[in-house]
Symmetry: C2
Subunit: 251 residues, 2 copies
């Protein structure tokens, strides 16, 4: 059975998230419907990151098994044709290397959380940023973020619905920077707990506002208690930027 690797961009606004659900249209279902229109058979698409409702992707990675081989460029353009008018775009389709599984083979997930930090709400990027009106101290947020990098029990930043077996994860990077009116939080790890990036972003906002000191983030982490962390930042500011695999030359 020929397996294909798909790289997908989407605007998560209005979708129930990546994963198929009964209560609305998911990215996965929209993709599966478009692929089915192309190849005439029911199939399942497996994604690397199960993004929440309203979360976006610049380069989600997924795999799908087709009944027959097809030209990758034809898959890409045909699926994009059938995806209209949804805000989902297949950037590339390529034959997957042997044993490739978009989720299980993934070694790195890179998420970006965007905060628009100015008085006026956004008009051109509504739905793509979290609007925070009071001035945020990005340097303090960056200092707070450094306490979270490394191998830790992230229970404080884990949603109660999280299905991961263990709350222990290795956070490879959590960088906060300001560019004009926008603050970006870049988070990289092999995998994340449910709502982990949004819970870290909501906590760092408290540091940015001056309600917390940077070292309070370390205290919250050590508490291993969700109630010790800040609130969950809204979904719309979050984007899955990239997924990395072990052998970039092959994958």
């Amino acid at each position: 059975v020929p397996r294909y690797k798909l790289t997908i961009e989407y605007d998560g606004t209005g979708f129930v998230g990546w994963q198929r659900q009964a209560n609305g249209l998911s990215i996965q279902e929209a993709l599966e419907t478009a692929l089915q229109r192309f190849c005439g058979e029911a199939l399942t698409v497996f994604g690397a990151g199960r993004t929440d409702a309203g979360v976006h992707a610049l380069a989600q990675v997924a795999h799908v098994d087709l009944a027959r081989e097809a030209d990758p460029e034809t898959i890409r353009s045909a699926v994009n044709h059938h995806l209209r008018p949804h805000a989902i775009s297949v950037l590339s389709a390529e034959p997957a290397p042997p044993g490739f599984d978009a989720r299980l083979s993934a070694r790195m997930r890179h998420y970006r959380y965007r905060i628009l930090n100015r008085r006026a709400p956004s008009a051109l990027e509504r739905g793509l940023v979290w609007h925070v009106a009071p001035p945020l101290d990005a340097a303090a947020m960056a200092e707070g973020a450094r306490h979270l990098i490394g191998h830790h029990d992230f229970t404080t930043f884990r949603d109660s619905l999280c299905q991961a077996k263990s709350p222990v994860k290795t956070l490879d990077a959590l960088e906060v920077s300001r560019s004009g009116e926008e603050i970006q939080i870049e988070a990289r790890a092999r995998s994340f707990l449910h709502h982990q990036v949004r819970n870290m972003a909501g906590t760092l906002k408290l540091v940015g506002l001056g309600h917390w000191r940077p070292e309070d983030v370390a205290r919250a982490l050590l508490a291993r208690d969700r109630r010790a962390g800040g609130p969950t930042a809204p979904a719309q500011g979050l984007t899955l930027v990239a997924v990395g695999y072990e052998r970039p030359s092959l994958y």
Copy 2:
């Protein structure tokens, strides 16, 4: 009568353009309605650039006369409140200097035309870019653009509905650059003819595709005939970036 200068961001998608029209909602009408809800009186908003349907603004400038003085920050936040759920945001409101007229006092208008140049259509910036799939040669486009800079009769790039008295304008800048998959055309002039930027962008695309040589742009300009120019690029790629005034310290 106290006059205020407003700086406004908007996503032009779904609007009939800046100017009030019978056939749909304009940015101007949405702003006037919101201002009227704030101050209780009918009023008119005058904008610096009459953007077409689907054209966006990062910083449109407008002026409005209110019956009574009001705190600028209160105007800004109240109008934004009444503008919901429209994709229009007042970035700032400030008392206008004596004699200020958003349109007549303007000395520079800066527009950006964005082209997404890749095979796959955009998901995250649909409505904000022109999707052109075949590879474009940005360097050739930049060379073609240089033929248009300066004081010229721009009849070739003027829409038949243009109401300007003269087709002669001074184009101060027309810069083409590529950043990854995106090509940006930056155009600056004291004022533009109707559809001028979009007609120049549609012509430069022909150069980028290799259908025209860069020097063919000069030939088209000299023809002073709209039929000698390229097609009109779609509205959605165009954004009014900034409006400049004579005395930046005052205005």
